[in-house]
Symmetry: C2
Subunit: 263 residues, 2 copies
DNA sequence: CGATCTGTTGATATCCTTCAATTTTGGTGG
DNA sequence: CCACCAAAATTGAAGGATATCAACAGATCG
């Protein structure tokens, strides 16, 4: 069996542990589903709208996205997939994909057998619960994006996406600093935020001017507090109950600590 | 027990039957969960962001919505809830609501016991599957809305929402014509579509001028085909496999028939 | 070391918002 | 039945946020 992470720090375990306390045995039995890992190049469609739905999968490394393409070729990115995300365990129930999934970077991905997963869930209520909460988090992320596209300015949308990328990386145990580890291009940000690449560029220029971010190999968020103040979003919607003390707290600020994070 | 609909036409049964064939016994065992029905006035919050999540519920009559409120008081409507929708069966797993739910009209609503529902799902795989697909439909509706807010013009957004209301009413067995049975105000449309009420009004004026809709007590869609052509959306994303022959087909047009609806 | 994608900047255009005022509608009580 | 009121719908004028178009610079990679 191919295993790239010690059990304790596998991003899927890190993530699910934020929702439900998992024992080492729980973690092992979940990771036992990861038998074959595929490497896929960047900018490759994993699944295309209209296709028969694929098997459930776990993203182990790299970044992918769900997206739709309009008749005129423009794209709307619906969701970014990060390492540790477990996706689409029920999707096989449908006849046809209603959206597409593509890699953005080179990725490592494990497909998960339908029977094995459902049997594990049936026999392990903690894992089952963790996966349900994880699905609720996904839904909440999409809701928050909908609020952004509907009612927030371009500045707020960009600030929100940057914060969310860091929050989610922390949730999945991928980052202990405030850098966007897997950089997404300005075109991708634009397609996710309902903006043009040109305008995303201008917003980022202003953020740089105001010392909010710094562009290096990884985009670095210099002032989370102000970025969060700009977008007016707290990480509450990610429902990370069991964050390590003092960590997400330091990112989220005292407001979120008081309101949601039961450390 | 309070029962307003014969089993065959209860909107929840009509809807779930679109996903999985249900026997009369299936229908009865699901409707057996509806023990107490509450009437709630229009414009009342059922659940507010930050609250402890409520029980799962079934909307029996009227219209409600999920929404978020921004710091400056503006509102984003995330989703309209129609009769027959069964909502939030997993939400109890969270510590706090990340959005609010409110009635738009007077509604009849049945809360559904967590234990009873999960026991029914465990013992009835068809109902379990139907509820899973229903959850997938909800997710797909939100994705399609995200595409609208991100990449479609005001005209397209309004046309899409009107089409979707009719499609969903048909899905839930609520309408056999092309009228929006539960009218939503222009303010509500604006809050759902990320527009201002003023602009929604102007779009609707143009639609009326072009004989696409007619405002009566119920908003009437005079030309579904052209409305669908305007928004460039097919009802495929609603995944209504088992529609009655010749019905959704007549709404959806030949394209959707060929591509998705296995009648 | 050219080709191609990504990022950057300026000038102009446009869709939608904002603001303000008026009309229409629907409900309620006299 | 009518008077009244609040909510919803409607219209016009003006302004602003973001898009579009175009050109170029910088990075990345075979």
């Amino acid at each position: 069996m191919h295993r790239r992470f010690p059990t304790e720090i596998h991003p899927a375990i890190a993530k699910l542990s934020k929702f439900v306390p998992l024992s080492d045995r729980d973690a092992e039995s979940l990771l036992a589903l990861v038998t074959t890992v595929h490497q896929i190049q960047e900018h490759v469609d994993i699944s295309v709208q209209g296709d028969l739905p694929h098997a459930a999968f776990m993203l182990i490394d790299g970044v992918a996205c769900r997206y739709c393409v309009l008749e005129d070729g423009r794209r709307q990115i619906l969701h970014f997939l990060l390492p540790g995300d477990i996706c689409d365990s029920d999707l096989y129930l449908l006849d046809a994909m209603d959206h597409s999934i593509a890699t953005l970077t080179r990725v490592s991905i494990a497909s998960i057998g339908r029977e094995e997963l459902s049997s594990l869930r049936a026999h392990n209520p903690r894992i089952d619960t963790a996966l349900r909460v994880s699905a609720l988090q996904d839904a909440a992320i999409q809701r928050e994006r909908l609020v952004s596209l509907g009612r927030r300015s371009a500045r707020q949308r960009v600030a929100h996406l940057l914060c969310e990328m860091v929050w989610r990386q922390v949730c999945n145990g991928l980052a202990d600093d405030l850098t966007v580890r897997y950089p997404i291009t300005q075109v991708e940000m634009a397609d996710a935020l309902g903006l043009t690449p040109v305008h995303v560029n201008r917003v980022l220029r202003d953020f740089r001017r105001d010392r909010l971010v710094r562009a290096s190999r990884r985009l670095e968020l210099l002032d989370m507090k102000r970025l969060q103040a700009i977008c007016e979003v707290t990480p509450d919607y990610l429902h990370m109950k069991r964050s390590r003390p003092g960590f997400v707290r330091s990112i989220a600020g005292p407001k979120a600590e008081k309101r949601n994070l039961r450390v």
